[in-house]
């Protein structure tokens, strides 16, 4: 039971990387990027092939980030420069990536054998965390990874570049009057978002030691659900009596603040817990995507309107 909880927690933490990406595109840029369903397996494909070729485990992280960034740049380019609608731009990238992923991984499945070191078993990890079991190491490594990414995003959102990114989702015309090309700013957002999603694919590949061409299906829905649950709960919390002491805190808001990224992590873990709960209650694993979709629908209906209002206000 405890093991199951810890493994769900690990899943929630790793998949929060997808939610960070979706948070940037959907919540901040107001861009539902379906490319996510292709970028996630892209990260896994790149990682699987590199690991089987004996590349250093930690090196797969920056390489996956770069691969995801390229995919985001492609979506951004066809949306911004070729003026394709945002949903279609994502679908084009997703479809194209399906073949690219097959090409990279030499097939629809690629397994990393037990003898190959992952970021959870690499010598550098063992020298620090050698005393822990594999499960504990996975928890510590993914927790540290998520916190580092969260911290970097929090810092980024408060830089000039980050502020401009938040501004373009909020009022793109204003960015134009600031003498900045709104299209380039959107592309930057898509690059960062897809880089993070590919990183999620990379870490998942390390965790489960495999790539499969279909592993991307439903990942955008997962990311959206986690973001909406997290942001809704955070908005609910900041408006509740429990947070009364916080009310006078300067600039109390969720989007683009550390509260936003915290909310996304919480949302991701909660969503994984819900899915795990449904599975433990006897639903067959083949039903997983159905559960993911239905839970998302439930989230939209229950908190959706509230969440939408706040996100798009």
């Amino acid at each position: 039971m405890a093991d199951l909880l810890i493994s769900t927690l690990i899943q929630g933490l790793i998949y929060a990387l997808i939610s960070f990406g979706v948070y940037i595109t959907y919540s901040i840029l107001d861009f539902p990027d379906l490319g996510v369903d292709g970028t996630f397996p892209l990260g896994a494909a790149v990682t699987a092939i590199l690991l089987t070729r004996g590349v250093n485990a930690w090196l797969t992280l920056p390489i996956s980030l770069a691969a995801g960034a390229l995919a985001g740049l492609f979506t951004g380019f066809i949306h911004v420069r070729l003026k394709i609608r945002n949903l279609l731009a994502g679908i084009i990238t997703m479809t194209a990536l399906f073949s690219i992923n097959l090409y990279i991984a030499n097939g629809s499945n690629l397994t990393v054998d037990r003898g190959t070191d992952t970021i959870f078993t690499a010598p550098s990890t063992m020298s620090l965390l050698g005393g822990l079991t594999l499960m504990e190491r996975k928890l510590v490594v993914s927790l540290v990874l998520i916190l580092v990414v969260k911290l970097m995003l929090d810092l980024y959102f408060n830089t000039k570049s980050g502020l401009l990114l938040r501004a373009v989702g909020d009022n793109a015309d204003l960015v134009t009057t600031l003498a900045k090309d709104r299209g380039s700013v959107k592309m930057l957002g898509l690059v960062i978002s897809n880089a993070l999603v590919a990183l999620a694919g990379c870490v998942v590949c390390h965790e489960q030691r495999s790539f499969s061409a279909t592993m991307g299906t439903g990942q955008l829905v997962y990311g959206l659900a986690a973001v909406i649950i997290g942001i809704s709960l955070m908005n609910f919390y900041t408006a509740s009596p429990a947070a009364r002491g916080l009310r006078h805190v300067k600039g109390l808001r969720v989007l683009g603040s550390p509260r936003g990224t915290t909310a996304v992590i919480v949302g991701s873990i909660l969503y994984k817990l819900c899915i795990q709960l449904a599975l433990s209650m006897g639903l067959p694993p083949n039903m997983m995507k159905l559960i993911t979709a239905m839970l998302f629908l439930l989230v939209l209906v229950v908190s959706g309107r509230k969440g939408e209002e706040i996100i798009h206000a």
Partner: protein, 257 residues
């Protein structure tokens, strides 16, 4: 000097609803001039502003600044020397960012948006003073989300943001139209003040004939893509609301309104 030379603007070209708004339209605005533009709906006032800012394409002609054509420049490139305040108070600011974040954005216009910190706390005192001079009680609301402020307050901040860094041109697109009369007066007074202080060349489209008469050095009346009244300097000072209204009624009657 801002010059529009032989501008041709056709809406819906090649269709049954084709409408030729401007046909070899020309206009010169002297440096430092504050021009008020009036006219009925569809007379081409806002199109004129949009053409200057590059928000809509033109079929012919040229827009020149100081004798140099800016027609090839994209809209965002033109805004390097222009500020713009819109009719909708929500259009000039980011509703989900705080006022301080909004002001910081405007303050950084023309510089690079890199990885340095967005908020410069040393600037806060300066912002507070600027807000204090607006007299709207905004100086204590730096950390409030823009979306939580009233239309008048947002418009005052929009004006402040649009003119924060040194500019050549200020484009005012019916910027008092959505405000109550008292707030509109305040915004208009602030506008006049900033245009004078910063010696801006300003183009203001307005439906308020009193503003057009009281403020600015030149008044233009537009009708179906033509300037039908153009008074500047002494002649403008001797123009009364009644003069403008008489001419306005004439063109309205010609249109059958």
């Amino acid at each position: 000097m801002l010059e529009m030379r032989d501008i041709t603007k056709v809406y819906n070209p090649g269709t049954i609803t084709e409408q030729r708004l401007f046909d070899h339209f020309s206009l010169k605005v002297e440096e430092g001039q504050f021009v008020a533009i009036v006219g009925s709906n569809g007379s081409g006032k806002t199109s004129l502003l949009n053409i200057i800012c590059g928000s809509i394409p033109i079929e012919g002609g040229d827009v020149l600044v100081g004798g140099t054509s800016i027609s090839k420049l994209k809209d965002y490139q033109r805004y390097a020397t222009m500020g713009r305040v819109y009719q909708n108070p929500a259009a000039g600011t980011c509703p989900n960012l705080t006022m301080l974040e909004n002001l910081s954005l405007a303050d950084n216009k023309g510089k690079s948006f890199g990885l340095s910190r967005a908020i410069n706390r040393r600037q806060v005192e300066q912002y507070r003073e600027q807000l204090l001079s607006l007299g709207l009680g905004l100086e204590d609301k730096l950390d409030v989300k823009m979306g939580a402020l009233s239309g008048g307050q947002r418009q005052a901040v929009s004006l402040l943001m649009a003119t924060m860094i040194p500019l050549k041109f200020l484009i005012l697109d019916e910027h008092t139209a959505a405000l109550d009369p008292k707030t509109a007066d305040t915004i208009m007074r602030l506008t006049d003040q900033v245009v004078r202080e910063k010696k801006l060349t300003a183009l203001m489209v307005t439906h308020n004939l009193r503003y057009a008469v009281e403020y600015g050095d030149r008044v233009l009346m537009m009708d179906r893509g033509h300037v039908v009244l153009d008074r500047a300097g002494e002649e403008k000072r001797n123009t009364s609301i009644d003069d403008i209204l008489t001419r306005f009624n004439q063109i309205s009657m010609e249109c059958g309104n």
